[in-house]
Symmetry: C2
Subunit: 211 residues, 2 copies
């Protein structure tokens, strides 16, 4: 029999259960990151992990659940990493810079994870063909960024602008920074991040502010 995969918040299942799930998730990340979502079959993921295909079916309800677990784990890692580094900063400008550079640092240290996240985010679909994630799933991130932007507007650091458009553009620029770096591995990701932070600082600052 299969263990009922109840998505309880706390870790559950036997030691083997948890270890296997972690191993399979890690294998999925690696395969997706360097073969692409479309080529990441259960057979490939199993072979890469050195286990039989049936094990995946045994520990996960299906391919979709495995993909969602990957997203949940990687996304939570990024959020924790970035939020930790943002704590303590008060000015909107500092928060903005820190958000961008912290994301870049995390990307540099977790290339495969972030790449796999993007692949799944963009490709996974519901049975009816509509995207499982996609832009709509970034709503939470948009709102977090909007908090920073509104904070800056209220404090007078930032000029008035549409915070939604700024948040969408910010997210896009950060995501594409990653994609560009993946395609051009020699590219200096941290320098790109600093330059990108400059762009948004200039784009947002109040008219009269000193450079």
């Amino acid at each position: 029999m299969r263990p009922e995969n109840k998505p309880t918040g706390q870790e559950s299942g036997s030691f083997i259960e948890r270890a296997r799930r972690a191993q399979i998730i890690a294998s999925a990340i690696e395969v997706i990151a360097d073969q692409g979502f479309a080529n990441a079959s259960l057979a490939r993921i199993a072979k890469h992990a050195g286990i039989s295909k049936g094990v995946i079916s045994y520990h996960f309800a299906g391919k979709d659940e495995l993909m969602e677990q990957v997203v949940d784990q990687v996304y939570a890692d990024i959020a924790r990493y970035v939020l930790e580094r943002m704590e303590g900063h008060k000015s909107a400008t500092a928060l903005l810079r820190t958000q961008i550079t912290a994301v870049a640092q995390h990307m540099r240290e977790h290339r495969s994870q972030v790449k796999a996240l993007g692949e799944i985010f963009y490709n996974l679909r519901l049975p009816d063909g509509t995207p499982r994630y996609g832009v709509a799933a970034s709503e939470e991130l948009f709102q977090s960024l909007e908090l920073i932007y509104r904070h800056g507007q209220e404090s007078g650091e930032f000029r008035l602008f549409d915070v939604r458009v700024m948040a969408v553009s910010h997210t896009a620029a950060v995501d594409n920074m990653f994609a560009y770096w993946v395609t051009h591995p020699g590219h200096d990701l941290d320098a790109h991040a600093r330059e990108l932070a400059d762009i948004f600082v200039h784009a947002t600052r109040a008219e009269g502010a000193l450079p």
Copy 2:
């Protein structure tokens, strides 16, 4: 026998040949735009066009050639549309604004085409699994944008910044403007474009410049 699909620059083949290819390309665009690349099989594209699957094989060397034809056609349409509207403008600031708003106008009028382009761009892979297009294929666009940015820096309109990072971020923001609009159809695309143009004008302008 099949007509040898020599990719000559000029239109070739019989009247039927040209009409069928156009019809199949149009059908592919519609299917990809609302089912996604992964669900756009030759069978679906043929059914949507009301023809037999074999016709596609008859008029195209394979699925990959069909996808590349879609990309070539849609990409050329966008480039022509935007470049026409940029002609005549001289200041870098005006060129920048025009580029962004013109792209948005084209997107609004050619939603399916642009969506299909993005799907293929992101998903089509070579036999070895590496992306057929992807970020690397945007190199030409990056260089065009860099011309504008360097022009502004040389004329003194723009501050000094890394033109490559600016071009990558610009492309990303425009692409995501489209993705956001597709997910939120009620969103005002033209207003978003004006706001986005403001963002890049502020991000690029020289320190001493008047608002």
